[in-house]
């Protein structure tokens, strides 16, 4: 299994790199699988991997309408953290963090997980109290959290305006040192390769266009590569959840699709070695290994499947960046793009059996599903294999919305555009 090593690199260097094997096969679809996973993003691929590695279920296909990793998994700002407040979220995201910490080793694929830390800045005493409370809740659960004062912040993040003249003066910040970033494409490729090696079929250019059913029960999928039967069909299509679930006859869900934009600047010399978030507005910024500033802010705020944003949010994000780091005001923007996210009505994810027999649903990742990729895959695989949730996703049901048991991390109520 350990195909990638220092020795392999050396050997292949001397043979002109001709002997590397493709990272995954390109099989033809089989007529029947035990489990079909719709969506070859991070979550679908991780689910396939854990089905094979943790549950011994290898007669599995991942169906992707485009190419593996072409969705949000390759389109995000790569932030990984577990600094949540509510117990259901802290447990789940810290499980993810622990999986991240061993992921390159486990997959034998360098996902470039970099624990450079994340610093959430507070600008009012009320916000500081809120963050300190969150830090205490994290430490209760055994998660790392450190409160930093402005002098410590100035040493950690040169270039940040910590003066009293700042538009939003900084009163302190909550740091999670174990948080950080990862190479997003590598996460998809690493999971795909590891699942492929265990026998999972990766079916690219295979769009699911309908569902096969026997009464209420889902018994397979119709695809652009033919009909394929399956004992279980698992849907993990992120921003396409509404559209794909309509094909199964589910026309209302506690989900809305919204666009989030992201930005990369020209390359700079090393400028920040941590992730910084701006509590006075909504901005998160880090520097990539290639030197570009990678940053983003709010969603555009209205339903969208357009995969491109509008200019007011671009202007807003840029002005927040200039307010926080005045020295970067002249830095040129290299590119921007948008991705469609499945905003849930309480801001927390949905990993559940149902809503129809034979169907399993993974959705509602909002802004933050990249960091969840390993835990989402492991909990979804458990739910599919055992027909029962893992304790860590037991709270993330679909019917929590109808029992009033919502997991509303931000206390904003049923307003998906604010989560």
């Amino acid at each position: 299994m350990r195909e990638y090593s220092a020795l392999a690199l050396l050997k292949n260097a001397f043979s002109g790199n001709r002997d590397w094997k493709p990272a995954w096969r390109k099989p033809d679809p089989k007529p029947h699988y035990d489990v079909v996973i719709v969506g070859g993003g991070g979550h679908g691929l991780a689910t396939a991997y854990y089905l094979a590695s943790e549950h011994g279920i290898t007669n599995v296909a991942v169906m992707e309408k485009g190419w593996l990793g072409g969705g949000n998994v390759g389109r995000n700002t790569t932030i990984v953290r577990s600094n949540y407040l509510l117990p259901a979220n802290t447990g789940f995201y810290e499980h993810s963090m622990k999986l991240w910490e061993n992921l390159s080793h486990e997959l034998n694929y360098n996902v470039m997980f970099s624990q450079r830390g994340i610093l959430n800045l507070a600008h009012t005493p009320g916000q500081a109290d809120d963050y300190i409370r969150r830090g205490n809740a994290m430490r209760h659960e055994g998660i790392d959290a450190v409160w930093m004062n402005p002098a410590e912040i100035a040493r950690k993040v040169p270039g940040l305006d910590v003066s009293a003249k700042a538009r939003f003066p900084i009163v302190g910040g909550l740091m999670q040192p174990r948080a950080g970033t990862a190479r997003h494409d590598a996460v998809a490729w690493g999971y795909a390769r590891a699942a492929d090696r265990r026998g999972v079929d990766m079916l690219e250019n295979c769009e699911v266009t309908g569902f096969l059913r026997d009464g209420d029960r889902i018994t397979g999928v119709m695809t652009t590569r033919g009909e394929i039967r399956a004992r279980k069909v698992a849907v993990a299509v992120a921003g396409s959840t509404g559209r794909v679930m309509k094909l199964a006859g589910i026309d209302r869900l506690p989900i809305e699709s919204h666009v989030l934009q992201a930005f990369v600047s020209e390359s700079l010399k090393p400028a920040i070695d941590t992730v910084v978030t701006f509590g006075g507005g909504h901005l998160y910024v880090s520097q990539s290994d290639k030197g570009g500033l990678v940053f983003g802010g709010d969603i555009d705020g209205y339903n969208s499947y357009a995969q491109r944003g509008n200019l007011p949010v671009v202007e807003e994000v840029m002005s927040e960046m200039a307010a926080l780091f005045p020295g970067w005001a002249g830095v040129r923007l290299l590119r921007s793009w948008g991705g469609i996210m499945d905003m849930s009505m309480d801001g927390s994810p949905i990993i559940t059996a149902g809503p129809l027999p034979g169907l399993y649903l993974n959705t509602g990742w909002c802004y933050g599903g990249f960091k969840a990729t390993p835990a989402s895959g492991s909990c979804f695989a458990h739910t599919i294999a055992r027909d029962a949730p893992h304790p860590l996703n037991a709270a993330f049901t679909l019917e929590r919305f109808h029992r009033g048991a919502v997991i509303d991390e931000k206390g904003q109520g049923a307003t998906p555009r604010l989560h």
């Binding site: 209302r252 809305e256 357009a306």
Partner: protein
């Protein structure tokens, strides 16, 4: 994106506040039908295509509007005052003001 306010004419989207999906119908306030209330609060049609939604011209005349906009292309098909739609609905259901 430009929204043509029936009162003010075409204005930049940044003058407006999005107020969400206008496809939902609120149950009668006296209703104790739990399932209907939960569906109203949490469930959405999440249309890919022409979507009926509420906006307020908060940076202008402050009218509440119903906009039909494509969620795929951002093309806007119609904008009208929400009060007209509400009056229409009341007339259709025979209710008093």
């Amino acid at each position: 994106m430009l929204i043509t306010c029936p009162c003010c004419g075409p204005r930049d989207v940044s003058e407006f506040t999005y107020q969400g999906d206008a496809n939902r119908t609120r149950p009668d306030p006296a209703s104790t039908d739990q399932a209907a209330w939960n569906a109203y609060v949490y469930d959405r049609v999440n249309t890919a295509g022409a979507h009926r939604e509420y906006w307020q011209h908060s940076g202008g005349c402050r009218s509440h509007l119903i906009v039909v906009r494509s969620t795929l292309t951002h093309r806007i098909d119609s904008v009208r005052f929400a009060r007209d739609a509400a009056d229409g609905a009341r007339r259709r259901s025979g209710g008093a003001a």
